[in-house]
């Protein structure tokens, strides 16, 4: 819920910053330079090529390089270099045609299908699926037969064949974004659908569409060259595919001639794909922080000796938790000390970013990627478990330290029945048989208040409500009789009447099993309801720890006072003064 959730940056970045960071990526830079070179060659072909593409000198048939012909002559005595240069132009024009047709049809159809949905989407998707089912090459050959040798017509047709790729991409993107609240807000503001699409939706889809464009450009160059190689192009127009065909015919005379068009095609296609990858990398990366491996190594030394008080289950001393930031470790927990007695419920309360969840997760050994305990000790039952090796931690988790999460639904695997998800951990942790685990699971489900344990046991997670799912997770957490239960905002996602029931259940189970509980919450009502003691956290530090009655009756720290002052429990209802609007407008 709090702290180390990086802001979702990619979609927000402006085009300029994407372009810039793609160019700082070495592969992206090389690909961009090569593409600029190819495009410049195509544009300035007459200036670069020493000969016209059709110029032939009869004595230079299959001539070796030199004597005016930089790369030698082809099978008809034409300059390979000049044809390569003009070929770049014709090949790129062909690719551009296919690309424009595919993007224009696909993106437009995808925008409308995605935004308006309904029958339009169904029909368009049928057409797209139909097009995708057609074998492109065969269709192109058929059209070649009926429409003649223009490679440009073929590329228009190929563009239509490629459009479903753009269509599906765009439609899925639009479907993802059209229920965003800012689209609703734009509709409430009175924007027409066209303006919403233009202002809000195009912005989101442009980057993935650019990636797709780059990849499709590569594909269409390959297909176009393939068609020409098969002899389906216009022999009078110099293209890379046509050159390949010519060189192939003379392969035993001049084996090197096939190299040049081959290289041109490979380099151009590879550049398009690499550029697409560079853009994608950039978009997926978001805000980059230094990887943990480059950070200075940290070895947390135990603070003090194991507590001698046998009644003390958990003793956290001067705990510091950090995440890798741009300039070293960013501390999110800054020297927290907490004590938890056996059978005690400790509330860890604070606002978002206070470090309460990070503190609790340190005890579980489940910090998010990159997170480390930088210093301090977590004495659990006489043993320091701060930075314990993962395999040792695994033995503790589930068996002695259990966890109840905030979002019950996302913590149950939708693909498995609840019974399986309950019995599996028990069989692993306790080493009991399947039938024994099942008997225990049914008993547990009854214990957490399921009216029909067998039915829940056989149900899939989507068949039960959020409140029921949280009961199932509580059942799973207590299934191995843990000594310590860590509950992270266990009722925040639930309705208030369900929350009351779940708190009731937690209270009963805690009293019955005598386990200790750390309850992370932002809700002082929940604290007042169930906790014995409370620690108030702010900016990674505990500002106040007290017995629950003392804390509410006599808060010491200013921050606690401020928070309690912000609780809206006892407010005087407002009184309505009619005709207020008229007073204002008069």
């Amino acid at each position: 819920m709090s702290a180390a959730t990086p802001a979702p940056a990619p979609a927000a970045s402006s085009r300029e910053s994407i372009a810039l960071s793609v160019l700082t990526n070495p592969l992206g830079l090389i690909a961009a330079i090569l593409l600029v070179l190819v495009i410049a060659t195509a544009v300035f072909a007459p200036l670069i090529a020493p000969f016209a593409p059709g110029d032939l000198q009869i004595f230079k048939i299959n001539a070796p390089p030199g004597d005016g012909y930089l790369l030698g002559g082809d099978g008809s005595g034409r300059d390979i270099f000049s044809r390569l240069v003009y070929g770049a132009r014709n090949t790129l024009i062909g690719a551009l045609i296919a690309l424009s047709v595919a993007a224009a049809i696909g993106v437009t159809a995808g925008l409308f299908a995605g935004y308006f949905g309904g029958r339009r989407e169904v029909v368009m998707s049928w057409i797209a699926d139909g097009l995708m089912a057609l074998p492109a090459l065969i269709v192109l050959l058929a059209f070649y037969q009926s429409l003649g040798s223009s490679i440009q017509v073929s590329m228009v047709i190929f563009g239509i064949m490629l459009s479903p790729g753009f269509y599906r991409l765009t439609r899925n993107l639009v479907n993802g974004v059209k229920h965003e609240l800012y689209v609703d807000a734009a509709r409430v503001s009175g924007l027409s659908d066209m303006r919403i699409i233009a202002r809000h939706i195009l912005l989101v889809i442009r980057a993935p569409v650019i990636i797709q464009t780059s990849i499709v450009a590569g594909i269409s160059i390959v297909i176009q060259a393939g068609l020409e190689f098969l002899g389906l192009g216009d022999p009078s127009v110099p293209t890379w595919g046509g050159m390949l065909q010519d060189a192939f015919a003379n392969m035993f005379v001049v084996p090197t001639a096939i190299l040049w068009p081959g290289l041109a095609i490979s380099i151009t296609v590879a550049s398009f794909v690499l550029l697409a990858n560079a853009i994608r990398d950039r978009l997926q990366q978001g805000n980059r922080t230094a990887p943990a491996s480059k950070m200075p190594k940290v070895v947390a030394k135990p603070v003090g000796a194991a507590p001698t008080d046998n009644d003390l289950l958990l003793d956290i001393r001067e705990l510091v938790v950090g995440y890798p930031g741009k300039t070293g470790w960013t501390e999110v927990v800054k020297g927290v000390s907490l004590q938890l007695r056996k059978g005690e419920v400790l509330g860890l309360v604070g606002e978002s970013g206070s470090g309460k969840t990070q503190t609790a997760f340190s005890v579980l050994g489940l910090l998010s990627t990159g997170g480390r305990i930088l210093s301090g000790s977590i004495w659990f039952d006489g043993r320091d478990i701060a930075n314990l090796p993962e395999d040792e931690m695994q033995k503790l988790r589930g068996k002695r330290i259990a966890y109840v999460p905030q979002e019950p639904m996302s913590n149950l695997d939708p693909a498995f029945r609840i019974g399986f998800q309950l019995t599996e951990p028990m069989m692993t942790v306790l080493g009991i048989s399947r039938s024994e685990a099942k008997a225990r699971a049914l008993k547990l489900l009854a214990k957490v208040g399921m009216p029909d344990p067998m039915r829940t046991y056989k149900a899939y997670p989507h068949q039960i409500s959020g409140g029921m799912a949280q009961r199932v997770l509580i059942a799973r957490a207590i299934s191995c009789s843990p000594d310590l239960l860590i509950a992270d905002e266990p009722t925040t996602a639930l309705d208030v009447t369900v929350q009351a029931e779940v708190l009731e259940l937690l209270r009963d189970l805690q009293a019955e099993m005598g386990m200790s509980v750390i309850l992370v919450t932002h809700n002082f009502g929940v604290v007042a309801d169930i906790c014995h003691r409370v620690s108030v956290m702010k900016d990674g530090k505990v500002v106040e720890t007290a017995d629950v009655r003392t804390l509410f009756a006599d808060p010491q720290h200013d921050y606690t006072k401020m928070l309690l002052g912000a609780v809206l429990d006892d407010v005087t209802p407002r009184t309505y003064r009619p005709r207020m609007l008229k007073e204002v407008s008069a």
Partner: protein
């Protein structure tokens, strides 16, 4: 009639296929008044708010706004004051387009409704930001540079841009921290007292609703089970469900909370 009622929902029904989400809902909001709409998930409170905004369906019934039926009329087809009905949504992280500056966001409704030219609208941005206590240099920054509470202030400023007579607030403070929540609620009250705007304030949190509302409607399963003055509904509830809802919300006082817990248990076993 239209003098003392700004919105009147008459027998509003909404069905999504076989799901009957709103069942004969009747509700009124008076000018300058806050009506709190409280209920649990699936009660239909958000659906009612969206129906009034014109972005959710109405299967039957009428929604009169200043005397004109606006049920099923899309926002862009609304005329007069109905066109200025605005919304503040729950999640300040997704209700602002991340790739637009605050200025673009605030200017959008003004330009869309042709209330002013782009230049005039830009000049108004500073006033709007001032109204929600944000510095004027906020205009050139992006939503990601602001905290949740600040973003919600931007969303409120956007709602105020058209000088609306009614703002539908859908859980506007649920995603905020306790201290931020109180400041944003105070801002809502202050704006109402200054401009006379009416709020339909949708929330699951009864303490929030009690803080800001003049009247409260309690919804359950698509029906309004209780509707009356705030004090009446939240201090002396008549309906069993309202009583349960009130007692279920834990209060920040261990001694009183223990009593309420016992009372809730008694109510549940008695029912």
């Amino acid at each position: 009639m239209s003098d003392d009622v700004i919105v009147q929902c008459i027998d509003v029904n909404t069905k999504f296929g076989a799901l009957h989400v709103l069942k004969n809902v009747n509700l009124t909001v008076r000018p300058g008044e806050t009506v709190g709409l409280v209920g649990e998930s699936g009660s239909g409170k958000t659906t009612l708010g969206r129906a009034i905004l014109g972005i959710g369906p109405v299967s039957s019934g009428r929604i009169l706004f200043e005397g004109h039926d606006i049920a099923g009329v899309a926002p862009r087809d609304r005329k007069g004051n109905a066109a200025s009905i605005q919304a503040v949504f729950q999640d300040p992280y997704t209700s602002l387009n991340p790739s637009m500056t605050i200025e673009d966001i605030l200017v959008e409704p003004i330009v869309a409704r042709r209330q002013a030219s782009l230049e005039e609208a830009r000049a108004r941005v500073r006033t709007l930001l001032d109204q929600v206590n944000l510095p004027s240099d906020a205009a050139y920054r992006y939503p990601r540079e602001f905290s949740g509470g600040q973003r919600q202030r931007v969303a409120i400023a956007r709602a105020l841009a058209l000088s609306p007579h009614l703002i539908v607030c859908d859980e506007p403070v649920s995603a905020l921290d306790l201290s931020t929540q109180q400041r944003v609620l105070d801002l809502f009250v202050e704006i109402q007292e200054r401009t006379g705007v009416a709020y339909l304030f949708v929330s699951h949190d009864l303490s929030v609703v009690r803080h800001i509302s003049h009247r409260v409607a309690v919804m359950r399963g698509g029906e309004i089970v209780e509707f009356g003055d705030c004090d009446q509904v939240t201090a002396h509830p008549q309906h069993d469900y309202t009583k349960r809802l009130l007692l279920a919300a834990p209060v920040a006082d261990p001694v009183r909370q223990a009593d309420r817990r016992a009372a809730l248990r008694a109510l549940n076993t008695g029912a």
